[in-house]
Symmetry: C2
Subunit: 179 residues, 2 copies
Amino acid sequence: REVLFFPSRPCCIEALLAEAAEPGAPARPCPCPLPSGDTALSRLVRRLLSARRSLDLCLFSFSCPQLARAVQLLHRRGVRVRLVTDAQYMGLHGSQIGRLRHAGIQVRHDQHSGYMHHKFAIVDRRMLITGSLNWTTQAIQSNRENVLVVEDADYVKAFQDEFERIWEEYNPANYIFFP
Amino acid sequence: REVLFFPSRPCCIEALLAEAAEPGAPARPCPCPLPSGDTALSRLVRRLLSARRSLDLCLFSFSCPQLARAVQLLHRRGVRVRLVTDAQYMGLHGSQIGRLRHAGIQVRHDQHSGYMHHKFAIVDRRMLITGSLNWTTQAIQSNRENVLVVEDADYVKAFQDEFERIWEEYNPANYIFFP
């Protein structure tokens, strides 16, 4: 049970990613000038990297390269990643959606003029990560934002059910346009 | 403990507002064609109208006239309403911020290029209402959105503390520009 507030100080997450990619491997110092301290971003990344079986993402906007690397790493490690996003925003400059699709991650999107405006993640069907934060570097570094980490089963189930509804509704078999 | 998902069916909230303005008064049917059923919007309005002492609002975008009427009603009823919003968005066409200020409600805004992107409300310092939903008619009627209603004291305190931090930081005595 945790609340993260943003903006987050910029930080290096290489050590977190390296540890997740190869647990127990000797740490190699990253040459970048950013500190690797405890920040809202590093806490968010830690929560995501705790996934062992599944990661369900429902994200209006996803352009942050650091978070995209964390998601790709989970996918490579065999975690079942599913991603729902917004059709208008997924094609914007800097979007990570194409890169994630290229890596083999399943992506589905809405077909409406209204936005798919959720910003939540569910880790292993047991931990809900939700709030105002779009997964963009601008939001992480410059905006006032909140993210709740919730393990209460009632809340998690409500969002998991919403995810499954949307996942079925956005099945590509139902697509009538392809942006 | 509740989760509301949007889009909400359009609905008439006149009966809710009338009951809140004059509890126990005989209901007068509204001539509008909208149903007055149980919807995500009507549930959100009910939660807000339960305020007796204070309503702290921290909203990126606030253009929904129905929600503005509910907030004005609480203000008239003597509830202490404080509103924090985003400087870039508060001047957009359709924004309700000017109307609320005109009614005598205290409003403060950021001075940053980053967004004040929170979308939460705290009722009587005991109930947190937070999620992805901006308070716009578009979001309510057209977007996929979530709103959590949380009475857990730890979460409420974290958001109340964030509200007080922002409220002080955005004190007009500190303003260096006036949009």
